[in-house]
């Protein structure tokens, strides 16, 4: 509902009701995050050690502490629809230092799992799935790399599925078992036509 006729749309956003209401919390969400992450995600006391340790935080809007808060309060929609969810590099610095012995990285991974179930996932992640399905690598070898490898006396391709293509069917079987490729294809198609 537009209340700010004639003003920039940004102002409309600023005037939104951002109160936390009791209905915003879904206790089931807290429980499933805990179950999937297998860490005490409900025990966060918001000290900020995680964000302070995070290599992503100084360079992005990603705040791991905020996701921990959402896990505690069960703010499912807020957590899963926040695009920052995908900015964690999974370096585990936060998990190393958390004084409550929680693994925030695993909480993020659990939320990503739950988001994927609702088809909330950035396309570039899905393209990584496609790449793995095709080559066994998230980042496949390319000609620049091949030249660089040759230069330092290595084989053009590493001793992975690039060299041993016969292992590809096994990798595809795993991805197919979880319908990862099919889902990725479907979502990419929906988004990009």
């Amino acid at each position: 509902m537009e209340r700010t006729k004639g003003y920039p749309a940004a102002l409309d956003k600023k005037l939104q009701d951002t109160k936390l209401y009791v209905d915003d919390s879904n206790p089931e969400f807290s429980k499933s995050v805990k179950a999937i992450s297998r860490t005490n995600s409900h025990m966060c006391y918001q000290c900020g050690t995680c964000t302070g340790s995070c290599p992503s935080a100084p360079r992005s809007s990603y705040r791991i502490r905020k996701f921990m808060r959402r896990a505690v309060l069960g703010l499912e929609n807020e957590a899963l629809t926040d695009p920052d969810l995908w900015l964690c590099t999974t370096c585990y610095s936060c998990s190393d230092r958390c004084p409550r012995d929680i693994l925030p990285t695993d909480v993020i991974m659990a939320m990503r799992n739950l988001a994927f179930k609702r088809d909330i996932v950035p396309v570039n992640f899905l393209k990584t799935v496609t790449a793995i399905y095709a080559s066994g690598h998230g980042v496949p070898n390319n000609d620049v790399n091949r030249a660089a490898r040759e230069k330092i006396g290595l084989s053009r391709d590493p001793p992975t599925t690039h060299t041993y293509a016969e292992y590809m069917p096994g990798i595809r079987k795993i991805l197919d078992h979880y319908k990862l490729k099919a889902n990725a294809d479907r979502i990419i198609k929906e988004r990009e036509g």
Partner: protein, 718 residues
């Protein structure tokens, strides 16, 4: 005692229920057999009247809804009436109340009861209450038995009405089986030595000793360090009043030194403890000090000799070591005192570093002749009635939390090091400087909860309780002493809970201290400037923080002092998971321990600031003086007794006894065992072991326990 009952009651779920109900009649005569066997066997017969048919009264407590809410108490009552030997059953809302106790007293008279069972909470909580009621009713108080249907039943099986009711029936039946066989027992009184011991002479130990001494009790004060005063003497100022710590402590130290009722043992430790409340025999190890006090000198015939604290020895000693009192930031000699105000003012030789060059001996001169390079540890035995442990704390080795860089980065220090650096009598004369270059810092970061509130296993899970406040005080001192210097406090919560503490927080914020709500994630050092980058998250601003500061002060967690564990074992005191000594009850008996006659004062029981420490010390002193002023204590008459006719004199029990209470003696030409009753704690080790069944454990006799087991397994049948 309660444990024994526990094991039987808990097992019951597995075993049978049906047999319980049937076969009521047979049991009667079996009951009679057991007691008949025992008075004959029991030599130290205490004038009991066990022969008569047992008439047990059962009283069931609702404990409000604590018990009544989880089980069918009427069913338990009806069942209790069918238990053989039961002459009277009643129930009441709160059996521990005056009307509840009145019911017991009246029923004993009206129904000529011989034993009492109260089904309620735990013996630990209310056994004394009901024993008194039993006594008031005219029975021997040891004819009381408790069935725990609350803590071990209704509270655990809150949602299993049927199961908890059945379990309560079992518990009552088992208690009745024992109550039917209980005998009259008479506690022994032993005199209490009119002397006390205080271990540790920090502010807690000193206060406790002063209080005891003022109450007219001879007090031995034992201190491991060379001087009394403890941690408080290392502090510069104290929050929230900003008194100079030394100024308020030194008078107390002097009082301790002067008090004729206090016998001070510095540079000493407790070596061995024997005995029990009223009669502890304590061996004190006086570590080799190498320096004679005037008294000791006189004892050696050197009148007018001994150390007068002149320091001539210090001046000539060629060995230089770090001074632990100054947190290693100042040198000391191999012969040293901690600081100028030490009590007693007696030098000490650190024999680990002394090279025995003899220069000090020469410097001391032929009149005083205070130095004895060949001195050895001495052992002194004293007898005390009660003892107070006040062994204090030390800092958690914060270098274990590597992310903060303590011991890696020069300009990261601990709160205690800060105290010495800001103290006028400290290594820098009170000028706060950076260890790396001696420069005055302009930005100082305080890391709160450094190692406290940490569940990772490498830190401490508890709140260390005084770091918030001393960090606020540090911030104040910086602002006061260094114009233009800004303190930044990195905190999670400011816990300013004491009297005038929150007001102090207000004041420090008003003075200009900056509070950043975020636990410090890590600290990095600029290798050139030796400045430090404090990395965290301003959780209130929701922005990551990288703050460059000149100095970082870690408010390190505290832990029990190193020797606490050894000392507590000597006195038989338990500790919690974190190593803090365990009080008898966290709320209602915080100074007592489960060992009668041993009390706790100060931080050894858990982190405390100075006001709480002094209060706790005064509490402990008061508690410790009670038995001494009473002059005698009653010992529970649970001791073991040897049945001489059955004893083969094998002596196996003598070695098993953990309290050295047993000995072999000659009696009527035979070797038999004899118990020193005052030493026996009634643990039952000997009684359980004796191959001939010759040891009679009062109040836990074999017939009584067998009857309980039978009652449980067979529903009273045999």
């Amino acid at each position: 005692m309660a444990e024994k009952k526990k094991t039987t009651t808990t097992k019951k779920t597995v075993t049978k229920k049906p047999i319980t109900k049937k076969a009521a009649p047979v049991k009667q005569d079996i009951k009679k057999q057991a007691p008949a066997a025992k008075p004959a066997a029991k030599p130290a017969a205490t004038g009991s009247t066990t022969q008569q048919k047992p008439r047990v009264g059962v009283f069931i407590c609702h404990c409000g809804t604590n018990i009544a809410g989880s089980m069918d108490l009427m069913a338990v009552q009806e069942y209790s009436k069918t238990i053989p030997g039961v002459a009277h059953v009643d129930n009441y809302q709160y059996m521990c109340s005056t009307p509840g106790q009145g019911k017991i007293e009246k029923a004993i008279k009206d129904h000529k009861l011989t034993g009492i069972v109260v089904a309620a909470c735990t013996p630990r909580l209310h056994e004394p209450t009901f024993r008194t009621a039993t006594k008031e009713g005219g029975l021997n108080p040891f004819r009381f038995e408790m069935a725990n249907i609350r803590d071990q039943n209704s509270w655990v099986h809150m949602h299993d009405q049927v199961g908890s009711t059945e379990k309560a029936k079992d518990a009552v039946r088992i208690a009745v089986a024992k109550a039917a066989l209980l005998q009259d027992l008479y506690p022994k009184s032993v005199p209490v030595e009119k002397a006390a011991m205080v271990v540790g002479a920090g502010v807690a130990g000193m206060q406790a000793a002063l209080d005891l001494a003022a109450a007219g009790i001879k007090t031995y004060l034992i201190e491991a360090d060379t001087s009394i005063g403890g941690r408080m003497s290392q502090l510069d100022k104290t929050f929230p009043t900003l008194d100079c710590s030394q100024c308020i402590l030194t008078p107390k130290m002097v009082d301790v030194g002067r008090d004729t009722n206090i016998e001070l043992y510095t540079y000493s430790e407790v070596n061995a403890v024997e005995g029990y409340i009223g009669n502890f025999d304590v061996t004190i190890r006086k570590k080799a000090r190498g320096v004679l006090t005037p008294k000791e000198a006189e004892a050696r015939g050197l009148v007018g000799g001994g150390c007068n604290g002149c320091g001539d020895c210090d001046a000539v000693c060629p060995v230089v070591k770090p001074n632990a009192f100054e947190m290693g930031m100042k040198p000391r000699k191999a012969i040293y005192i901690n600081h100028p105000q030490v009590v007693p003012l007696i030098y000490t030789i650190d024999f680990d570093s002394c090279i025995k060059c003899g220069l000090c001996v020469t410097a001391c001169g032929p009149e005083k002749r205070a130095i004895d390079l060949e001195s050895k540890d001495e052992f002194v035995k004293v007898k005390v009635g009660t003892a107070i442990l006040a062994t204090g704390y030390e800092l958690f080795p914060i270098e274990k939390k590597e992310e903060w860089g303590y011991k890696r980065f020069e300009n990261v220090i601990t709160g205690l090091e800060f105290e010495r650096l800001i103290c006028a009598s400290g290594p820098t004369g009170g000028h706060l400087v950076r260890p790396s270059d001696g420069q005055t810092p302009k930005k100082v970061a305080f890391v709160l909860c450094a190692g406290s509130r940490d569940n990772t296993g490498s830190g401490k899970p508890y709140c260390s309780r005084f770091c918030c406040m001393y960090s606020l005080k540090h911030a104040h001192q910086i602002i006061e002493k260094i114009p233009g210097c800004t303190p930044y406090l990195f905190y999670m919560d400011i816990r300013s809970f004491g009297k005038m503490y929150e007001e102090f927080y207000y004041r420090i914020q008003d003075e200009g201290a900056k509070f950043i709500r975020g636990r410090v994630a890590n600290i990095l050092e600029d290798s050139k400037s030796k400045n430090l980058h404090v990395m965290t998250d301003d959780t209130l601003l929701d922005r990551p923080v990288d703050m460059e500061v000149d100095l970082v002060v870690l408010a390190s967690a505290v832990q029990p002092s190193a020797d606490t564990n050894r000392t507590r074992k000597l006195f038989g005191v338990s500790c919690s998971m974190d190593g803090w000594l365990l009080e008898a009850h966290p709320k209602l008996n915080p100074c007592g321990t489960t060992t009668a006659g041993v009390f706790l004062a100060g931080v050894c029981q858990g982190p405390k600031d100075i006001p709480d420490t002094v209060a706790s010390a005064e509490g402990a002193a008061s508690a410790a003086s009670i038995p001494i002023h009473k002059g005698e204590v009653e010992l529970e008459p649970y001791f073991a007794t040897c049945i001489d006719e059955k004893c083969a004199g094998c002596g196996m029990c003598v070695n098993l006894c953990p309290y050295s209470a047993l000995a072999l003696v000659e009696k009527d030409g035979r070797t038999v065992m004899e118990v020193t009753e005052a030493k026996c704690k009634g643990c039952g080790t000997c009684g359980g072991f004796c191959p001939g069944g010759a040891i009679w454990m009062n109040h836990f006799t074999t017939p009584q326990i067998v009857a309980q087991i039978d009652a449980f397994l067979l529903g009273g049948e045999q």
